[in-house]
Symmetry: C2
Subunit: 289 residues, 2 copies
């Protein structure tokens, strides 16, 4: 089965369990709205690609990890868009959850997605306890405190921000979870796969910085120029567009070079190059063509 | 070891893991602030009491469940106090988390506590996979959508609210989790223990309604008269103080009567009666004396 089909099917099942009998109708609607229609699904695609390269010994475990990571990513977007953070009206080209459903339901939607992520992992524990124990640990570490997504967002509340800690936690952690969890789900040691996630996470951050400077809001599906407005660090502002683009290409080369030897490593390299083209700003892709 | 000592020790360990190396200092401080000093810890006390009555075959599993349930309870308080919900300045007699740390850190503190709850459960999976699989399921069901705490809070965003669904989800669910998880942690079937949790949860809700009407803010440690202000259902307003008190006593009798036969059932009955005295409004306790 195509990875995209696996991911959308598994996400639909997880969301529909959370919408089950007795759910408040607006919360049920907001949960669906926050997860669908599909974004690029870069993190779950990466997770399944690594699992596949490692032999995909337990597809249900890999699916659970991919779904948990994507639900947590969606939860972080919903909470990041709240008025007390980015106060963003747009996300993926449509109204953000709090604009569409109000702030209380946006807070609760994020909360429910976090719970559903772990419920999805928990539901596989009986089938493969040792692998699922590792996956729950990897996913929890990538999203909670002290060094996950939540911690990354919390660095924005500090006066002095260690830039690398901030970006590694806020953006990098879920990429590391994706590669490490993909390997662990296939029964492989996740440790050698962390570097790929770290480099892809940083590349994604630099690409996002470039998009924030280069794109228009329609292409991006969310407001532009947010980093300058919020005094957030931005690689394109620091290195210039050319410098940031060169840095991004260096990261991509290093990412692909870091792939551990495994049965599917050649295929994985091609897939990652294709996937990352998705998050390259269109202007740069055109310039490179 | 005394239950209170077990609970505070296990909570301190869980919070300190979330505050570990690399944590943003304000988030680390807010996490501690949201969990300590101890409230009555009614839910984890109940969980350990049921585990004890059932033989406490795996104390580490029981501790993990008790901690997860209390962390999730604390998370729900932090998010419920937010300006977009109750906008409460006070909680447990001190400034609410968003008043002390600001709204962004309050959102993130709740998120991080939810993650830490599941990380705590996940950390025990290797030791006792089948029991932990059950516990993760029980806890996730009690806090997420469609019928957990988050769903209960989301009913406040609906125009038409089925009152019993609302209260069962918002207050009852974590009590059911406490009794069911206590039994499951000891290797017993959790199903017969749900009724005790349901009745205690409803009793707690009625007692809370009475306190909202009867107490002063200093005794309560949070603002009073909130239900009338927010047009929320309140048993004391519906049944009168005398009627609500009689209803509460009936629930307590039914709760104690619902305790399944087990080695420690007599001791558990006494303990529950002592614990529930804690959440009886002082005025009523005085009137009854």
């Amino acid at each position: 089965m195509q990875a995209a089909t696996r991911i959308e099917g598994a996400l639909a099942q997880a969301v529909s369990l959370a919408q089950g009998p007795g759910a408040p109708p607006l919360l049920a609607a907001a949960l669906h709205y926050a997860v669908f229609p599909a974004g690029h699904r870069i993190r779950p695609q990466l997770c399944l690609a690594v699992a596949h390269a490692c032999g995909d010994r337990d597809p249900a475990a890999a699916d659970a990890a991919a779904v948990a990571i994507e639900l947590l990513h969606c939860a972080s977007l919903v909470h990041d868009d709240l008025p007390c953070f980015d106060n963003a009206d747009l996300r993926r080209g449509k109204a953000s959850v709090h604009m569409a459903f109000g702030e209380p339901l946006a807070v609760l939607t994020g909360d429910a997605l976090i719970v559903q992520a772990f419920a999805t992992l928990g539901a596989q524990v009986r089938q493969n306890p040792l692998v699922m124990a590792t996956l729950i640990g990897i996913v929890a570490e990538s999203v909670g405190a002290p060094r996950g997504v939540v911690a990354g967002q919390a660095w924005e509340c500090e006066v002095a921000v260690p830039l690398s800690d901030y970006q590694r936690a806020k953006t990098g952690a879920l990429f590391v979870a994706a590669t490490a969890a993909g390997a662990a789900a296939a029964g492989q040691d996740p440790a050698p796969w962390r570097s790929l996630g770290e480099k892809l996470g940083e590349a994604y951050q630099v690409a996002d910085d470039l998009r924030d400077v280069l794109c228009d809001a329609e292409e991006l599906g969310k407001p532009i120029g947010q980093d300058a407005k919020r005094l957030r660090p931005n690689a394109a502002a620091e290195l210039g567009v050319g410098g940031a683009k060169a840095y991004l290409e260096g990261l991509m080369t290093a990412a692909v070079a870091s792939i551990p030897e495994c049965p599917g490593s050649a295929e994985l390299r091609m897939l990652i190059e294709a996937q990352t083209a998705l998050f390259f700003p269109k202007q740069l892709a055109r310039a490179a063509a």
